[in-house]
């Protein structure tokens, strides 16, 4: 599919408050970590370009609030997403257990054409924090991802810039192929519609 490229890939980042969504995005976009980022209220997005194989893709990364109730008014930006990133804090099992709810919430709100194939990527953040007996094991996370539609899984540290580039590259690729399949679908359905229309029109009048 090389004919029509979507100008912008839209990526929505979800997860409990404090897992490091803002820090991840800023690390990826600005290559820095700061302890001064405030708790996100409302929503904002950041852009970054990325070379994927032979073409440049432009990503619009949507940073959202982890505070659940703030989501209810701001779901407008879920729509039209090409990929959804689910983030948790590897040291916080609760934030891991919440992933399923975030995923479902996204599917309900974004209402993608095909929920079965819509790409999610799971990111376990804050791997720089060591010896924590509560830590969610990599195994457990991988098992969860496999069981839920084979979601790609990455472990990162926004603080130490570990795994961030790699995760976003896969996120970009997934978003890109999602956008292309949507494109394809649109062309396909358009063709059908035209066909039907010309079939119907004589008897409509």
């Amino acid at each position: 599919m090389s004919h029509r490229k979507k100008a912008m890939l839209k990526i929505v980042i979800l997860g409990d408050s404090g897992v490091g969504k803002t820090s991840l995005i800023r690390q990826y976009v600005d290559n820095k970590f700061s302890t001064q980022y405030k708790a996100t209220i409302g929503a904002d997005f950041f852009n970054r370009e990325l070379q994927v194989d032979d073409h440049t893709v432009k990503m619009q990364l949507w940073d959202t609030a982890g505070q659940e109730r703030f989501q209810s008014l701001g779901v407008a930006f879920y729509r039209g997403a090409d990929c959804c990133v689910l983030v948790y804090d590897v040291n916080n099992p609760k934030s891991f257990e919440a992933l399923k709810a975030w995923r479902d919430e996204f599917l309900v709100q974004a209402n993608p054409r095909d929920p079965e194939t819509f790409p999610f990527v799971v990111v376990g953040n804050k791997v720089d924090i060591e010896d924590n007996n509560k830590r969610v094991s990599t195994k457990r996370a991988q098992a969860f991802c496999r069981a839920n539609g084979n979601m790609p899984y990455f472990e990162t540290s926004a603080k130490e810039a570990i795994g961030v580039e790699a995760a976003f590259e896969v996120i970009a690729r997934n978003a890109l192929s999602q956008a292309e399949s949507e494109d394809y679908n649109e062309d396909f359905t358009d063709a059908i519609n035209i066909h039907l229309d010309s079939d119907k029109s004589p008897c409509m009048c």
Partner: protein, 712 residues
């Protein structure tokens, strides 16, 4: 010395508005003056400043003729007004030299009607504005008409001061209203004039002499901006190419580092430049205000005639100096009784704000921790009591930590609070240092360290989480607490203040978000009424959910203004001086200020959201507050006008059909009937809008918390 002439007609309180600032308005009279022996076409249409009339002693004559309804005065001799004068905006022009009159009646967006005269020499004289509410003769006439249930003039519009001017002018000249325009009258037009007019409407749009700077800028602005828009990456190279075809003034513009640095976040160097242009326009406006007699004023006047929605200048708003400790102390007598009325103090705070050293005292009153009417002694007692209360509340959970440490909700909330406190206002010196090692070695902040103030913040928020059990701690609250803590420098008092503040803020945080929804909806109605063109644009851009105001409203612009400005803004809002929801007018003012850029450049929800988010820390609070006040005053007037008009309509239907009075209710049932009535398309004043006139704070409490539900 000029010879005496006969004053045929005069109208008082007609102003020239040389700048957008109403302070600069010049009051005067408009008159029809017949020089001795002049025929009708030699009658002068004149506007004379009041001050000039006082100097040459004609003032009384103009007043007399103005108030003389039937013009029974045989003689009102005045000196012949000069054609123009260097010292003022005054002018006079014989009817035969007038080509056209542009007639703009008052309307929802523009309270004063105005008249602009174009001469046959293609000169545009300053627009003159009829301040009807100040003119005794106009008020008399309006009263009379209201009494007769006929507030309308012959053309079916509401009567205003300009009506009689045209009426009298028509006695001496032929006024032709060319087809296709109901705002233009050609004066004694020849056939050629009429033909010309229909061929090109441009003739009336007279050329003005603009401020050369503004002119250069206006000419090239959009050309440059659109070129930039087509350049995908705004590199040094392309900028250089642009330079070579660009006038010097704009070159300076492009050299500004911020512009150079522009990285096209959403492909929009143009937006940055437009924003910058807004700053320049304001600067130009400011410098214009300084000198009354400059050439640029016509530029403004032209803008006024062209745009219905421009910032209205009839209401004045000017920020005053913040209240210092001396002034504050003078508000009280020796035992601490307030010697002013509460309203007076609030008015003063609303318009000026407070100096830092006044805040610890004044905020206690504003947040109603202590009553305005009390003595020093009583206040001390109340504060002591607050300290006890806080300690007791804190002790409740402090002494129960054993149990609490097994309560999952509590633990969740505690770590949420901890996380957020460490992310709140860390650039403020109070919270910046992290010199103390963490009291809890297992805390995730053990590594990063903490300080006494951060720990106090946590305690206050945990206490609040316990105190207001149903609501609990929600993100954003730490943003609301930190200014209180820093100002009072006393955790118990800050806590008391926070509880009071939260009374009115609770609706922003409740789980179902209905409080936020209501406010965003009210903004929706407000923008429909006050900025209809912008509203249409936002609707096309899928942005009428006004989500970009979510953060601004939730924490009262805490994230949008610098620390000191936030303190000022909050104390202004706490006065409830005009409305307990004045915060929504602050939002409206921001939209008003940026509407041109939004309408010209931003067509998508994401673009608008980004633009609004990036206003953060760039906004001039003083300007926004002045605009907000003007927006409020305009709003109040709009409601008043719509109500009155509706009442007039209903009373006329009442007389006609004997039906009952339904015009003021907003219920569904009356809709059909109302539609029949309002072919004038009066805006619907929703209850949301009407509530904005109230000074009572809105309190909405969270419902009881289901123990199974977390704090999300």
């Amino acid at each position: 010395m000029t010879s005496k002439a006969k004053l045929l007609y005069s109208k008082s309180k007609v102003y020239v508005h040389p700048t957008p600032n109403s302070k600069d308005n010049i009051p005067g009279f408009v008159g029809l003056v017949r020089p001795s022996h002049a025929e009708d076409s030699g009658i002068l249409v004149a506007w004379v400043p009041e001050d000039d009339l006082k100097v040459n002693h004609d003032y009384d004559q103009y007043v007399k003729v103005d108030l003389d309804e039937n013009l029974v005065l045989k003689e009102a001799l005045v000196s012949t007004p000069p054609p123009s004068s260097f010292s003022s905006y005054g002018f006079s022009v014989p009817i035969r030299d007038i080509y056209s009159i542009y007639y703009k009646r008052p309307s929802l967006g523009w309270w004063w009607g105005s008249i602009t005269i174009n001469t046959r020499g293609s000169e545009t004289l300053p627009a003159i504005f009829f301040h009807d509410s100040e003119s005794p003769s106009t008020k008399n006439e309006q009263k009379k008409r209201n009494k007769d249930f006929d507030p309308f003039s012959n053309d079916g519009n509401l009567y205003w001061g300009g009506d009689t001017f045209l009426l009298y002018l028509e006695k001496y000249a032929k006024l032709v209203n060319p087809s296709g325009s109901n705002n233009i009258f050609l004066v004694n037009p020849t056939q050629e004039d009429l033909d010309l007019y229909s061929n090109s409407n441009n003739k009336v749009a007279a050329k003005d002499e603009e401020d050369p700077f503004v002119k250069v800028f206006n000419d090239v602005k959009w050309k440059v901006l659109s070129k930039l828009a087509s350049v995908t990456k705004f590199s040094r190279n392309t900028a250089q190419q642009l330079f070579d075809s660009t006038p010097p003034k704009v070159k300076t513009l492009l050299n500004i580092p911020e512009v150079q640095k522009v990285n096209d976040d959403f492909g929009s160097a143009k937006v940055y430049l437009a924003k910058w242009a807004l700053g320049i326009a304001e600067e130009a406006q400011r410098s214009k205000r300084k000198s009354v007699y400059n050439e640029g004023y016509r530029k403004f006047l032209k803008g006024e005639l062209g745009d219905f929605e421009l910032l209205s200048i009839d209401f004045e708003s000017e920020r005053r100096n913040p209240i210092g400790i001396k002034e504050w102390n003078a508000f009280f007598d020796p035992i601490g009784h307030l010697v002013l009325t509460v309203e007076e103090v609030k008015e003063r705070i609303f318009h000026g704000g407070l100096q830092p050293e006044v805040r610890p005292q004044a905020w206690l009153f504003l947040l109603e921790i202590i009553p305005w009417v009390s003595t020093d002694k009583e206040r001390k007692k109340i504060l002591n009591q607050k300290r006890h209360e806080y300690n007791d509340l804190k002790k409740l959970w402090w002494d129960d930590l054993e149990n609490k440490n097994h309560d999952e909700f509590w633990l969740d909330q505690k770590s949420r609070i901890e996380k957020d406190v460490h992310r709140t206002d860390r650039s403020v010196s109070f919270f910046a240092e992290a010199e103390v090692s963490h009291p809890d070695p297992n805390s995730r902040f053990a590594e990063t360290g903490t300080n006494a103030h951060l720990e106090q913040m946590k305690d206050m928020l945990i206490t609040y989480n316990e105190y207001n059990k149903n609501l609990g701690y929600i993100q954003g609250m730490s943003d609301l607490l930190s200014p209180l803590y820093v100002v009072f420098q006393d955790d118990a008092v800050a806590f008391a203040a926070f509880c009071k503040f939260m009374d009115r803020m609770e609706r922003n945080f409740i789980r179902d978000q209905s409080g936020m929804r209501d406010q965003l909806l009210t903004i929706d109605h407000l923008v429909q009424l006050m900025l209809p063109q912008l509203y249409e644009h936002l609707a096309q851009a899928d942005s009428t959910h006004f989500f970009f105001f979510f953060r601004m409203i939730l924490v009262w612009f805490k994230r949008e203004f610098a620390w000191d400005d936030v303190l000022t803004l909050w104390e202004v809002l706490w006065t409830n001086y005009y409305s307990s929801d004045f915060v929504l007018f602050v939002a409206l003012a921001i939209l008003d200020k940026h509407k041109d850029i939004i309408m010209t450049h931003l067509n998508q929800f994401d673009e608008i959201l980004k633009y609004m988010n990036e206003l953060s820390m760039t906004m001039d609070l003083k300007d926004i507050l002045e605009r907000a006040e003007i927006q409020f005053l305009n709003f109040r007037k709009a409601i008043d006008m719509v109500d009155r008009k509706r009442q007039d309509m209903s009373s006329s239907t009442f007389l006609a059909s004997g039906s009952t009075d339904y015009s003021l209710t907003d219920t569904e049932g009356s809709k059909a009937a109302k539609q029949k009535l309002t072919d004038h398309e009066l805006p619907n004043i929703t209850r949301d809008l009407r509530n904005l006139l109230s000074k009572e704070i809105v309190i909405v409490k969270e419902v009881e918390r289901d123990p199974d539900v977390g704090g999300g």
